[in-house]
């Protein structure tokens, strides 16, 4: 039997600011298929949380159903988690956030979980600009139920069994921008160099941060003719920008050429420096991003990197003007002021 993860780690594993190594951010050993892209995304989340020195107990992972939605078991084993119903992750995340606004929320979903059964919830959570990181591990199929085409499978993409997908694909990134998501990025599970800084930036963005990560299903959708295979994605990936995430505490050292790069200050004082590789696009202008996405589609390209960011829109708590202190820290005394107070309130309505 080899399916037991040894407890030993590299003795020289670096420690982060709060004294933890990567080990403290790991979860249990994955039971996904060997080589599944989802595992790489899990590893990127572990790496990002380690590098950000977040306290694991300040993180909650919430997911729906699918191979992708199973991954929270395989990362951040010391954090909170909720494996909800198919497509219903956004409601649980919204409820959790309402109760405790001080946590980092990772919503983990699949293309089936988001673009099919969960589409209604997805649309509304964007509309509300809930402060969370929403990751779609997008493999163009329903992995868990044996690889049927999902709504993000590209038209003309070939399945493992040989059938051609006749339907148009839902482009989740374009949709998110259209619906007003305040942070939209695309990436590839096989490119951690890009993915890790994106996750870090998304965690620091106050509002809805959407990451559409192409994540090949090695078992059902990694065949020639599939547009979500390792080979296809590598050949058709077009990086719009490289991103340096600069936490608030760090001196900015990278040189800055306003013609080629853009700096975006986040709410908490940290900074994103985007080094643009594509020139005809402005990450703070929705129209230019939508255009860039459309043009890429015509060229059969997958645009990756941080596509759009807006730091002005209020997140849900801001819009609802909720209390500064998280709701769950209020005691019964404060939440139930008593019969006298109720009487007073009722009187006001009479």
């Amino acid at each position: 039997m080899s399916y037991i993860k040894p407890l030993f780690r590299h003795p020289k594993l670096p420690k982060n600011k709060i004294g933890y190594t990567l080990k403290e951010y790991e979860g249990s050993l994955s039971t996904l298929c060997a080589g599944c892209g989802h595992d790489s995304i899990s590893a990127a989340i572990v790496q990002a949380c380690f590098e950000m020195s977040v306290e694991p107990h300040h993180v909650a992972k919430i997911s729906g159903i699918g191979c992708s939605s199973k991954t929270p078991t395989y990362f951040l084993g010391n954090s909170h988690g909720f494996n909800s119903v198919h497509g219903r992750m956004p409601s649980i995340a919204t409820g959790a956030s309402m109760a405790n606004k001080d946590m980092v929320y990772f919503g983990v979903s699949g293309d089936g979980d988001t673009a099919s059964i969960g589409m209604g919830q997805f649309v509304h959570v964007i509309r509300r600009n809930l402060n969370m990181v929403y990751i779609v591990m997008n493999n163009g199929c329903y992995g868990l139920t044996k690889g049927q085409d999902s709504a993000t499978a590209d038209q003309g993409s070939k399945s493992k069994a040989g059938s051609i997908n006749p339907f148009q694909a839902i482009d989740l990134a374009s949709l998110a921008i259209e619906l007003g998501a305040s942070f939209v990025a695309q990436s590839f599970s096989g490119d951690k160099q890009q993915l890790v800084p994106l996750i870090k930036a998304a965690m620091h963005h106050k509002g809805f941060a959407f990451l559409n990560v192409i994540s090949p299903c090695v078992t059902f959708n990694n065949n020639p003719g599939s547009t979500k295979s390792y080979d296809y994605v590598r050949q058709h990936m077009q990086t719009v920008s490289t991103l340096d995430f600069v936490p608030e505490s760090k001196q900015i050292t990278a040189s800055y050429d306003p013609g080629k790069s853009t700096r975006v200050a986040l709410h908490d004082g940290s900074l994103i420096q985007l080094n643009k590789l594509a020139t005809d696009w402005n990450p703070e202008n929705r129209i230019s991003v939508v255009n860039a996405l459309q043009e890429a589609r015509i060229r059969n390209e997958i645009l990756t990197g941080l596509l759009y960011v807006n730091t002005e829109w209020k997140d849900l708590h801001g819009t609802l003007n909720t209390a500064d202190k998280p709701l769950n820290t209020y005691s019964e005394k404060e939440l139930c002021p008593g019969a006298k107070k109720l009487e007073e309130i009722n009187r006001a309505y009479r």
Binding site: M1, S2, P14, L29, G190, Y230
Partner: protein
């Protein structure tokens, strides 16, 4: 970096740290697995083939393998490699049936072995099956050399020694014991086809110029001579107060033997600091356990004699000072000199080679230190017929080194007798074979236990100190041996990478518990080492570097702390990684 050449037999060999460190390159993990499988006879034979004296070495080996063990780097304490060897020897069945069976058809050639220690015995074992007529000369009463005369019975019972010496002598060796060879010329004149000198380093160092040495002579003994006279039962007792001078293995055997022969207050006095003593840590522990006091940083000044009797010794107190290069100097502390009482003193401050019986006009060169000029690979002297090995070749070492020399000398002697080039060494026997049995199934126990090293039980002091022949260590019992064996990381089960299968999904990199694997752009070694997931700072350990992959990156694996857990191969969707057992065996003369 260039892609690693795993076709070089030494690449994977080096990954098996213990085997690589073993002078005879014993396939350690192979025999440890056999012990776990309760196949003691097979485990014994794997050892016997490589190191010839499994039962002896399982009790006395200097264990260069253990500090090298990977477990030291991932945990702290090495696998008890040496004491597991003893488990194989203690529990084996009939091993003789697996050994070469004489009489061997003669090849018409005759060989002389001078000295009957482990070096000569190894040559005998390797050459006898080839049909050589072998004549072994030793001045002692039986074979074994210093394993008989020096290593005390409480560490190595005579029964174990006799058994393993006899496996060799019974191959049809012509022995001439109680025969001191006093002329090499005469031996050469007897027309042997080749001669092997395995006479050891038989002279113990003295302190001839220390004041009082002559007057105290009746109470002062040279450690190795004294141990031999105890072993051969010429000496049965010692006085109550004993000083042992020296801090090496001989000193430890002298003090512990003294405790068994009547020594009540036995003190080891050594010039160096305790931590620098040559004795192994476990030897020091055993001595201290037997109530022996160790005085370090004491330099002997004089023997003190009163009324014709030794009353003790004077010592100067020193401290060790190290210069920038780490070179040690012992400087006086300025404290008053110390007097230590004693009735008898054993001098155990080192051994020397001496070859009074080798004529200097035979064309056999000696260097300025009086050592024969011997080739480090072929073990041939400047007299083409004469070969050296063991302590006689390059100075005192240990049993396993003597065995390793013996194997190489035997190869050379055989090549020489066949008229072949001695410099063309036979390549090792190697075999690399997949261990995959199915999904999540490997033919070795891949899970890694976190058990700490188990302690070998000892007999009670009240018993062992009464009888110098009573063995102190009891050896592991079978259940403990199993648990200790499971601590082995199976370093011989190699992570073999096939680049054209890799789809660069990063699964192996993500799953590896000890962050060994990194996919990155190539660079020169120093830079590449720096940019791995965890920088590979231990340059003693190699990097396994692939050829360039599709995305232009390379796979780099730092061999340093790989647990051989197999998870990389388990998580690889295309079997680009596979766990393959590498068997490496030094080619011996008998299989040429």
């Amino acid at each position: 970096m260039k892609p690693t050449n795993t076709q070089d037999p030494e690449y994977y060999h080096k990954v098996v740290d213990c085997q690589y460190a073993c002078p005879a390159h014993t396939p350690v993990p192979e025999y440890i697995r056999l012990i776990a499988a309760e196949k003691y006879t097979e485990a014994y034979m794997v050892n016997w083939e490589s190191n010839v004296f499994p039962g002896i070495l399982g009790r006395t080996c200097d264990r260069p393998c253990e500090p090298a063990c990977r477990r030291v780097r991932v945990e702290e304490e090495p696998v008890a490699i040496c004491r597991l060897k003893r488990v194989a020897a203690d529990n084996k069945g009939d091993v003789r049936q697996h050994m070469p069976q004489g009489p061997f058809p003669s090849n018409g050639k005759r060989i002389a072995l001078i000295g009957g220690g482990p070096a000569s015995l190894t040559v005998a074992r390797d050459l006898a099956p080839l049909g050589y007529e072998i004549h072994l000369f030793d001045e002692q009463i039986a074979g074994g050399g210093m394993m008989r005369s020096q290593i005390p019975s409480f560490r190595l019972p005579e029964k174990v020694l006799n058994e393993e010496v006899n496996y060799i002598l019974d191959l049809g060796i012509h022995t001439q014991f109680l025969t001191y060879v006093d002329s090499l010329k005469e031996i050469i004149a007897k027309d042997y086809d080749a001669v092997f000198v395995g006479t050891g380093a038989p002279r113990g160092r003295d302190l001839p110029n220390l004041p009082g040495r002559k007057e105290a002579d009746a109470f002062v003994h040279i450690g190795i001579e004294w141990l031999a006279s105890v072993a051969f039962e010429h000496t049965q007792s010692i006085s109550k107060k004993v000083i042992v001078l020296g801090g090496g293995n001989t000193a430890m055997d002298c003090c512990r033997t003294s405790r068994r022969l009547g020594g009540k207050e036995v003190k080891v006095v050594v010039r160096s600091p305790f931590s620098d003593m040559k004795a192994s840590p476990w030897e020091k522990e055993d001595a201290i356990h037997e109530d022996i006091q160790i005085f370090d940083n004491h330099v002997p000044l004089s023997f003190e004699v009163k009324n014709g009797k030794l009353i003790g010794m004077m010592f100067q107190k020193v401290k060790a000072v190290y210069d920038a290069k780490g070179k040690r100097q012992l400087l006086p502390t300025g404290e008053p000199d110390a007097f230590i009482e004693a009735d008898e003193v054993l001098i155990a401050i080192g051994q020397e080679n001496t070859f009074p019986w080798i004529e200097r006009n035979l064309g056999l060169d000696f260097d300025q230190w009086g050592m024969p000029v011997v080739d480090r690979t072929t073990f041939q002297s400047t007299h083409p017929k004469v070969f050296f090995g063991g302590d006689a070749a390059f100075g005192p070492e240990n049993v396993i080194t003597a065995v390793a020399h013996g194997h190489q000398a035997a190869v050379s002697m055989h090549l020489y007798c066949e008229g072949k080039d001695l410099k063309k060494r036979p390549s090792p026997y190697t075999n690399l074979i997949s261990q995959k049995m199915g999904i999540h199934e490997w033919s070795y126990d891949s899970p890694v236990t976190i058990d700490q090293r188990f302690v070998v039980p000892q007999a009670r002091k009240s018993i062992t100190l009464k009888d110098r022949k009573k063995e102190v260590e009891l050896g592991f019992d079978v259940p403990t041996a199993f648990k200790e064996a499971q601590r082995c990381l199976n370093c011989d089960v190699q992570t073999v990478f096939t680049e054209n299968r890799c789809i660069e999904c990063d699964a192996c990199m993500d799953v590896c518990p000890t962050s060994c694997i990194t996919f990155t752009t190539n660079a020169e070694e120093p830079e590449l080492r720096e940019k791995l997931l965890v920088p590979a700072l231990n340059t003693q350990q190699d990097l396994l570097v692939s050829a360039e992959l599709k995305t232009g990156r390379v796979m780099v694996k730092d061999e340093d702390v790989c647990l051989h857990c197999g998870l990389c191969a388990e998580r690889c969707p295309t079997s680009a990684w596979d766990m393959q057992k590498y068997f490496y065996s030094v080619t011996k003369a008998h299989s040429l």
